[in-house]
Amino acid sequence: MLELKNVSYSYGQNKILSDVSFRVETGELVCVLGPNGCGKTTLLKNILGLLTPSGGSIFIDGKEVKRLSPGKLAQLMGYIPQTHSPPFPYKVFEVVLMGRTAYLSRLAMPDKKDEEIAYDSLKKLNITHLKDKIYTKISGGERQLVLIARALAQQPKILIMDEPTSSLDFGKQNVVLEHVRMLSQKGISILMVTHDPAHALFCADKVITMKKGHILKIGNPKDVISEDMMKYMYETDVKIGKVKLPDERTICVCIPVPKVS
């Protein structure tokens, strides 16, 4: 689905990414973890076609990203940025409809069919009640769901998420992650950058850890997210524990160890 082969990226003299290779299969949810400045954002920008790799290549659905036009790329790949406010008070439905832009002929406006697709995207996330609300006036969690709906309206094969939970409260983070989980189960590939190992443990099929532009390890979340790895990446002590739920499932938790008792 998404494949990176020996991707590197330099900005002037600084090498920000070196020799990054990995794959995201169809329907797989992959989380990228790493400390600030490890190159996560640069990695996403390269994948999204906003930056061009200095070396190596990125393929999506077998096609090389840098050879695709913005329109073609947007039909394959949806991007969910961190929430923010646009300068003008668009309605939620208008924002979601913008996801259809890549499918419009050069000068056309969205038509009935595009509106149906936009409405379906809202329905998938159970937020049709927000349709006529003003995007800038709804809560951060709702806004994040709207941005996911907009990306779904692109009918993409893969979703790229940049810390989609970063400005949300504790409860809303889980609401968003549950939705993300559900989408991947419906067959959409997802690559998500997150700063919280707990999120990766919560929903990822595969975890990639990075530091200083290099990939450290790729694999099953429970294997990759170890106390040693966390200590090495974030330079802080953490404890990883297992909790058994009443329904027999076991979940992993990852918490920092306080220095002062």
Binding site: K45, L48, G49, L50, S69, P70, G71, K72, L73, A74, Q75, M77, G78, Y79, P81, P86, P87, F88, P89, Y90, K91, E94, M98, G99, T101, A102, Y103, L104, L107, A108, M109, P110, I134, T136, R150, Q154
Partner: protein, 332 residues
């Protein structure tokens, strides 16, 4: 049906303003007489000569210029506000007005004809924006920021040029002419002027109208617009060229008319919301109506004409405060 009523209502507003402007002036022509004069002008040709001159050579060109310039400056302003993701941007952001003003002043200083003044204004307006665009490309920075930076540099450059020209101009005839020109007026617009500037204005306006859906997406910023499938560099180029054609052409026939491009988009946004599919047509109607009425004031309020630029700013300021105070959907 509902939206059809709204659309026709808006067009009626403009038609009413048009007839009103045609009717009032130094001497008032009743609407009925306007109708019969226009009818006989085209069909039987028997007309009172005075009436004929007032309507066809004095008022109509002025009114058409008002509609054209008002609509064009407002739509250009609305587009720029989206592109720069900033509600406080006006269409001369990239130096078009400053450049055009300089070109016109230079032509007046060199005692050129009205036609040359217009051509110089137009050319310098475009040149100014090209320089700003070049600065933007050279800086290789976040595009909206470096464009604004380029615009500020170029505006400053050409304003100081205009200042220098004023300093050297003959204080008895050239300086008053320059000052009056810079304050803006529709009084000397002729039919041929309108034909000439309508070409760039219509090209600019139609282009903006055609890309208006994409302007929505561009308002979400460079990166998001690209990931939604827009070739942002191309779109920005179209918006800049269109707005510049519009602004330079407008300034070339009526001088500096500020504030319209800033205020009117907000008024329209307060009424129909920010979606450019509706915003641009409504901005068109509001902009043209606004300038028509302002120009009516310019020619009727005093014994001498009041410069347009003074009135638009004077009316624009309280208007702006009102919009922002009342506004629910405009900005916040």
């Amino acid at each position: 049906m509902h939206s059809f009523m709204k659309k026709s209502g808006l067009i009626l507003v403009l038609v009413a303003a048009f007839l009103f402007s045609l009717s009032i002036g130094r001497y008032i022509i009743p609407i009925r007489q306007i109708g019969s004069t226009i009818f006989s002008h085209y069909f039987n040709g028997v007309n009172d000569a005075n009436m004929e001159t007032v309507i066809f050579n004095i008022r109509l060109p002025r009114i058409f210029a008002g509609i054209l310039v008002g609509a064009a400056l407002s739509t250009a302003g609305a587009s720029f506000q989206g592109m720069f993701k900033n509600p406080l941007v006006s269409p001369d952001m990239l130096g078009a007005s400053a450049g055009a003003g300089f070109g016109a002043c230079l032509a007046i200083l060199l005692s050129q004809s009205a036609l040359v003044i217009q051509i110089m204004a137009f050319t310098f307006g475009i040149t100014a924006v090209l320089i700003a665009y070049f600065v933007n490309v050279m800086l290789d920075y976040e595009p909206t920021i470096s464009l604004v930076l380029g615009g500020i540099l170029v505006s400053t450059l050409f304003s100081s040029g205009t200042g220098a020209i004023k300093y050297f101009a003959d204080a008895n005839d050239k300086l008053p002419a320059i000052t009056y020109w810079l304050m803006g007026s529709l009084s000397s617009v002729t039919n041929s002027d309108i034909l000439m500037v309508s070409v760039p204005i219509v090209i600019g306006f139609v282009s903006l109208f055609l890309v208006r859906w994409k302007l929505n997406v561009l308002a979400f910023g460079e990166e998001e617009a690209r990931t939604l499938g827009i070739d942002t560099r191309k779109l920005r180029f179209i918006v800049i060229i269109s707005s510049t054609l519009i602004t330079s052409a407008s300034v070339s026939i009526c001088g500096m008319v500020g504030w319209i491009g800033l205020v009117i988009p907000h008024l329209a946004r307060a009424v129909v919301g920010p979606d450019y599919r509706k915003l641009l047509p409504v901005t068109f109607i509001f902009g043209s109506t606004f300038l028509l009425l302002i120009d009516d004031m310019a020619r009727c309020l005093g014994a001498v004409e009041i410069p347009l630029g003074i009135l638009t700013s004077l009316m624009g300021v309280p208007f702006f405060i009102l919009i922002f105070k009342q506004n629910v959907r405009g900005w916040k």
